[in-house]
Symmetry: C2
Subunit: 459 residues, 2 copies
Amino acid sequence: MDDAGRGGGLALLTDLYQLTMAQAYWHHRVDGRATFSLFVRRLPEERGYLVAAGLEDVLRYLEGLRFTSGDLEYLESTGIFDPAFLEYLATVRFTGEVWAVPEGRIVFAQEPLLEVTGPILEAQLAETYIINQVQLQTLIATKAARCVWAAKGRGVVDFSLRRTHGTDAGLKVARCSYLAGFDGTSNVLAGKVYGIPIAGTMAHSFVMAFPSELEAFRAFAQSFPERCVLLIDTYDTVEGARVAAQVAREMEAHGSRLRGVRIDSGDLLELSRQVRRVLDEAGLDYVRIVASGGLDEYQIEELTEAGAPIDSFGVGTRMGVSADAPWLDMAYKLVSYEGRPALKLSQGKASLPGEKQVYRFYDNEGLIREDVLALRDEHVPGGEPLLQKVMEGGRVLGQYPSLEELRQRFRDEFRRLPEAYKALRPSASYPVRESAALEELGRRLAREVTAHQRQLGES
Amino acid sequence: MDDAGRGGGLALLTDLYQLTMAQAYWHHRVDGRATFSLFVRRLPEERGYLVAAGLEDVLRYLEGLRFTSGDLEYLESTGIFDPAFLEYLATVRFTGEVWAVPEGRIVFAQEPLLEVTGPILEAQLAETYIINQVQLQTLIATKAARCVWAAKGRGVVDFSLRRTHGTDAGLKVARCSYLAGFDGTSNVLAGKVYGIPIAGTMAHSFVMAFPSELEAFRAFAQSFPERCVLLIDTYDTVEGARVAAQVAREMEAHGSRLRGVRIDSGDLLELSRQVRRVLDEAGLDYVRIVASGGLDEYQIEELTEAGAPIDSFGVGTRMGVSADAPWLDMAYKLVSYEGRPALKLSQGKASLPGEKQVYRFYDNEGLIREDVLALRDEHVPGGEPLLQKVMEGGRVLGQYPSLEELRQRFRDEFRRLPEAYKALRPSASYPVRESAALEELGRRLAREVTAHQRQLGES
């Protein structure tokens, strides 16, 4: 497999400016401790929440961060760098600490997903990979959670590998959709790497490679008597259902049972009803119906609300690229340097200063009610702190949780999210409040920076 | 680096059904030669053309395709497969042939980007990876070509790595945007792997890590006297331009020149004009203005049409995820089996039968006028055939063209595309006609299949 996200060999997978800044820091002995905060500025319009994901890959990357001799040779060949700096770069490791919201927990706009503290050169270098992974994985975990919610207890399986943006995305989409409650993935490598249950049956080409649909179905049933799902829409779906029913009865004669049929095109509501009727009339009420073909949470919701007799959904492209919102406005911003809080004022991109903690409050029924964004060393009574220290001195603290544990954590977490925020078109925006101390700090720094700039402008 | 797309280790990066079908083929001795055709069913609404890309990765994958003992152990552990089939799978290599449109050429809906012929098991197995790579790379090359067109001769640089969907996408986006005319990338690993020029300067955090903007700018200029671009919008953009001008004059005193300033937020048209004025009034007409921050082809077009004094655009997220159209409706369909053309009738997903060739016709000025989709062995006089045989017996024919050659090919090709199809909101749809023979074949097969199904339904 590729080593993306498994630490090592990824040091050059960064924006050039991380390295030019690093050289300037090194030349000028700017080596104070800095804290960077990773957060989403605004949620996409049709998102009521985000599911935090991607932390494990970030921590493995930080543990393995180093420049190989091949990396350094390449950098030297560009003529951009001071050879003495490259010698120094060969020795660089990540030695800092990380606070983070555990994967599988729900977060909202402006809340730090993680904060990285270390010598500024190290903490800065890691920016590109950290955003690259946490953006993608949080995006997909969130999209997938919406699909699971819309399916209202029916199964959902990841079929997206062919349309994910490349191979790394294919793996991460399988991981994050499973974390968010999918039942499995068609991605075999993801099954091997992450232990996710794998699923899949046949394509239209299989049916077409035999002289008739009947012969194709029989051949498949003979090869997989215990896990046979037949694709019935290659020529005519209802006809295909009748042929599948015939094969199912033949399977019964051999002591096995057809597991399901799959419909991959057309009007899924109408077709699933007709197919259910064909199966039921043949006494095959145990045969399940799987639907796929351009599905996302919106279409799943329509189908489940209309009572379509579909048992399980195969979800591909639109989930795998998060088609209605293919990116998050995620930023990694300097919030503290050498113990003093830092602030950026760029139009529309202002950031909140200081190392932070998020405190979560629950109502009497155990549902989440409000989050308070506070300074990390501030005491906010009654709130549950979301960020935990997960790395210290460049070493991970404790064990990585298993993917099953993350999945369970998300399931528990999602139960505590009020329905208003779960809706595909959320009717309310979850309240995230700034603590008085944080607000006051922001105001004070903005005044100071503006005064400082004015002074420079007049000088 | 990861080995994605460099052949080897990717055999399991496939949908499970490719392997279950393979076992059923093997059990039933279905081993005839099959041809699969890869094409885009419909262009996204705001696309007038596509730029073919991704072929090199496909060919390297096919050359390296094999299941490792670890792969086979995993497959055995799933309990899905017949151990004898897995023994056979260990021996599987791709032994077939590939016809393809060369990378960098322009294609349209329904036209095969490539056709794979081989024993059905081999040609089927490769589907998932082939779509995964060609979909992404064609998507991005097309999006990037639109950005370059909108920039009307100004520079365009890829800044997307942090928001691409994972690490593989980060590399492929850099590759394909360069192929389509970008000047370079911020992605250092892409520089190393593909030899693409790398670009980048500083982030806001750099400015914030110094006591003042002036000190930050001075430090950077000292470290990079020959390639200094200063980010001027951390606090106040016009103020930042004045500070940059001061540093530029100090640089002149040391015999070097400030290369540029970058604006990353706010109203880029208005700010670029004010910044240009500040620079010109300071006698710094040689200092270039780089703009970035949420740009795509639509905003670039607005800025260039308004005459914004911007010399170069840094394009990130929206290009790197093809935000307005994050996927292509791409399919890999069986079109021929054992010498007989194959056809699928699924609603809305019908495919054209037979191995094909695309013939392109030009007008008197050398602009492309019309494409004819024909059967591969059909003679269409006067047309230029687009698909070439690039692999035979599982071996690549000839050398891989360099990325510079692909870039040049695209540049030449794009000149021959009429303006109507280049527009960001194309006013016309390029004519792709089916040859009479292809049309007749499609009609005949549809009749036959329907009759066959009717017969089965009545039996």
